[in-house]
C-alpha cells in the first residue's frame, strides 16, 4: 500500500510545474547559500566606510549598505539564519504537533475531546503576542526564538495528525494486526507512522514559510534576531530605513524572502495536491 501511494503522488507532483519550479529554486538557493562561505571572500561584517551606499558593481554584486558592507554576503548570511531558524522552528512545531495530535487521536474519547477543545480555543489567539511577551521577559535568546516560533504553529499539525490517527485507528488492518496479538507499540511504529508521514511532510513544508515570515516580522520590529547576527528581516529593516538613498538594500533581501516564501508555498500546495487529489481545489 505505501509504495503505490508514494509513486502515485510523485507522478502527480511532477506534473505540477509551479511546485517543481519552487522545489528547484529552493534546492538551488540552499546549495548556494550554505556552500557560499566556502568560496566567498568578503565577510558579511566587514565595513568599508569609503564605499557606503554604492549601487551594484562588479566588486559588490548586490551593492553595499549604509556601513559599506557587501550586501551579497549579508543577504547570503541572513538567508542562512532565516532558513535555519525557519527549519528548526518548524521541526519544533512538528514535534509538538505530532506528539499532541497522535496522543489525542490514539487516546480518543473524552481526553481527545478536551484536548481538541483546547486547540480550538488556542486557534483564535495570535501567537505572535505570546512570542513578543516571551522575548520581552526572557531576552532575545536565539534558541528561545525558534522554540517560541515553533510553538506558534503546532496547532494545525496537531489537528491533521489527530485526524489521520483517528481514521487509521479504525481501519481494518490495524484491527487485524491487533487481533494477531501484535503489541500496541509495534502497531504505532509500523502502521500509524508511515501513513501519517505524508500529511506531516506536507504541512511541514507549509509551516516553514509561516515561521520564516514570523521571524522576519519580529526581526523587522527589532524583537527577533539581534546584531551582530542578521536575518532577512533585519536586512529589510535596514533597507527600508535608507530606501530612498539605496533601494537595492531593500530590494535584494525582500526579493529573496518573497521568492523563498513563494517557492515553499508552491511546493507545499503541490505536495498537498499530490498526496490528496480529492481535496477541494481552488
Amino acid at each position: 500500500m505505501s509504495n503505490g501511494l508514494w509513486t502515485d503522488a510523485l507522478t502527480r507532483l511532477k506534473k505540477n510545474k509551479l511546485a517543481l519550479l519552487g522545489a528547484a529554486f529552493l534546492l538551488l538557493e540552499v546549495a548556494v547559500f550554505f556552500l557560499a562561505p566556502l568560496f566567498s571572500q568578503t565577510g558579511y561584517e566587514v565595513q568599508d566606510l569609503e564605499m557606503t551606499f554604492s549601487a551594484p558593481t562588479q566588486l559588490h554584486w548586490f551593492g553595499t549598505d549604509s556601513l559599506g558592507r557587501d550586501l551579497l554576503s549579508r543577504v547570503l548570511f541572513g538567508g542562512r539564519v532565516s532558513l535555519t531558524v525557519g527549519l528548526l522552528a518548524s521541526l519544533v512545531s512538528a514535534l509538538v504537533g505530532v506528539v499532541y495530535g497522535s496522543l489525542s487521536g490514539f487516546l480518543g474519547g473524552k481526553t481527545d475531546n478536551v484536548m481538541m477543545r483546547i486547540v480550538d480555543v488556542l486557534y483564535a489567539l495570535p501567537f505572535i503576542f505570546l512570542v513578543i511577551i516571551l522575548m520581552v521577559y526572557f531576552g532575545r535568546n536565539f534558541v528561545l526564538l525558534f522554540v517560541a516560533l515553533g510553538l506558534t504553529q503546532w496547532l494545525t499539525m496537531a489537528r491533521i495528525v489527530r485526524g489521520q490517527v483517528l481514521s487509521l485507528r479504525h481501519k481494518e488492518f490495524i484491527e487485524a494486526a491487533h487481533s494477531l496479538g501484535i503489541r500496541k507499540r509495534k502497531i504505532i511504529l509500523k502502521h500509524l507512522i508511515p501513513n501519517t508521514l505524508g500529511p506531516v511532510i506536507v504541512y511541514l513544508t507549509l509551516t516553514v514559510p509561516s515561521v520564516i515570515l514570523e521571524e522576519a516580522f519580529l526581526s523587522y520590529l527589532g524583537l527577533g534576531i539581534q546584531a551582530p547576527l542578521a536575518s532577512w528581516g533585519t536586512l529589510i529593516k535596514e533597507g527600508v530605513d535608507v530606501m530612498d538613498l539605496a533601494p537595492w538594500t531593500l530590494f535584494f533581501p525582500a526579493f529573496f524572502l518573497s521568492a523563498t516564501l513563494f517557492s515553499l508555498n508552491f511546493l507545499g500546495d503541490g505536495l498537498r495536491d499530490a498526496l490528496d487529489p480529492k481535496g477541494a481545489r481552488d
Binding site: A124, M135, V136, P247, A254, L257, S258, L261, D282
Partner: protein
C-alpha cells in the same frame, strides 16, 4: 432555541479569561527588574507609583483581588518606564488611531476582495480570473513589511502621489490602510471566488434561472448569501491578523497608534504596558470572533436549529 451553541462558546471564554488575567497578574508581579524582584532597576519615581498602585506590603491574595477590581474598572496600572503616564492614558490616546487604521484596512480588504473574487467567479478560467488571482497570490505570499515599503517607494518617493508617513490628512491614510488590507483582500478574493463558484454549481441556481431571473438577480439575491459565508467566517482570523499587522504598518508609516506604542514598550521592556495592551488585544479578538460566529449563525438559517 438555536443560539445555544453560541452560549456554549461564550461559557468557555469565561474561565479562559480568568486564567489569562491571573497569568497577566503574576507576570507583572514577577517581571525581571521590577519592584518585586530582587534587582530593582526601575527609577524611584516609578517605584513609588508601583508601590502605591499594587500595595506590595499586602498579602498576595489581596493584591490579586485588588488587581481584578482595578481591571473591572478599566484601570490597567502605571507604566513601567514613564513615571507620569498610565497604561490607560497611552491606550486612550493611541487606540482610536489603530481602530481607524484597522477599519479602513478591513474596508479595503472586503471591497477589493469581494469584487475581485466575484469577477473571477463569474468568468472563471479567463483573464478576469487569472489576473486577480495572480495578484491575490502576491498578497498572500508577500509580507506586510515588504508590501508597505514597496508601495511607499513607488507611490510616495518615485511618483510622489501620496505622503510617506504621518497621520494628519486623508491622504496619509491611504497607503497604510492599503498596505495593511492588501493581504486580507487577497485571501478574501480567493474565498469569494471559491464560495461563489461552488454556489453557482448548485441546483437551486438552475431553478432560479428557470424562473426567468436575470443573471445579476441570480448573483445578488441567490448566490451572494451562501457564497459569502466562507468570507464571513474568515473575518475572525482576518481581524486578528489586522491587529498584528498593524504593529508593523504603524511602525513603517510612523503612525501614533497602539501597535507602535506596543512595540516600543516591548523593546523598552515596559512590562505593564506590554501586558495590559496584550490583555486588551486578546479581549478584542475574543469579542470579534464571537461577533463573527453570531453573524454566521444569522446568515446560515440551517444553523439556527443545531
Amino acid at each position: 432555541m438555536g443560539f445555544q451553541y453560541l452560549f456554549k462558546r461564550l461559557a468557555i471564554m469565561v474561565p479562559i479569561f480568568f486564567l489569562v488575567v491571573t497569568l497577566v497578574f503574576f507576570m507583572i508581579r514577577f517581571a525581571p527588574g521590577g519592584p518585586f524582584s530582587s534587582e530593582k532597576s526601575v527609577s524611584p519615581a516609578i517605584l513609588k507609583n508601583l508601590e502605591a498602585k499594587y500595595h506590595m506590603d499586602e498579602p498576595l491574595v489581596s493584591q490579586y483581588i485588588r488587581y481584578w477590581k482595578d481591571l473591572l474598572r478599566g484601570d490597567l496600572g502605571p507604566s513601567f518606564k514613564h513615571a507620569n503616564r498610565t497604561v490607560n492614558e497611552i491606550i486612550q490616546e493611541s487606540l482610536p488611531v489603530s481602530v481607524e487604521l484597522g477599519l479602513l484596512a478591513l474596508a479595503w480588504a472586503v471591497i477589493i476582495g469581494v469584487s475581485a473574487g466575484a469577477l473571477a467567479a463569474l468568468k472563471p478560467n479567463t483573464v478576469y480570473d487569472y489576473v486577480p488571482m495572480a495578484f491575490s497570490l502576491l498578497g498572500i505570499c508577500l509580507p506586510t513589511f515588504v508590501v508597505g515599503p514597496v508601495l511607499v517607494l513607488v507611490f510616495g518617493l518615485w511618483l510622489q502621489w501620496l505622503p510617506v508617513a504621518g497621520w494628519e490628512s486623508w491622504q496619509d491614510r491611504v497607503l497604510p490602510s492599503l498596505t495593511l488590507g492588501f493581504a486580507y483582500a487577497a485571501y478574501i478574493s480567493r474565498l469569494t471566488r471559491g464560495g461563489l463558484i461552488e454556489i453557482r454549481g448548485q441546483e437551486f441556481i438552475r431553478t432560479a434561472r428557470s424562473k426567468g431571473l436575470t443573471e445579476s438577480q441570480i448573483l445578488i439575491k441567490h448566490s451572494l448569501r451562501g457564497g459569502l459565508l466562507p468570507v464571513v467566517s474568515y473575518l475572525g482570523p482576518a481581524l486578528a491578523g489586522i491587529i498584528t499587522g498593524a504593529l508593523v504598518t504603524e511602525t513603517i508609516f510612523n503612525i501614533p497608534g497602539l501597535g507602535r506604542f506596543f512595540i516600543e514598550s516591548a523593546v523598552n521592556r515596559d512590562y505593564t504596558v506590554v501586558m495590559g495592551t496584550s490583555l486588551l488585544y486578546f479581549t478584542l479578538i475574543f469579542l470579534c470572533n464571537f461577533l463573527v460566529d453570531l453573524v454566521y449563525a444569522i446568515l446560515d438559517p440551517r444553523l439556527k436549529y443545531v
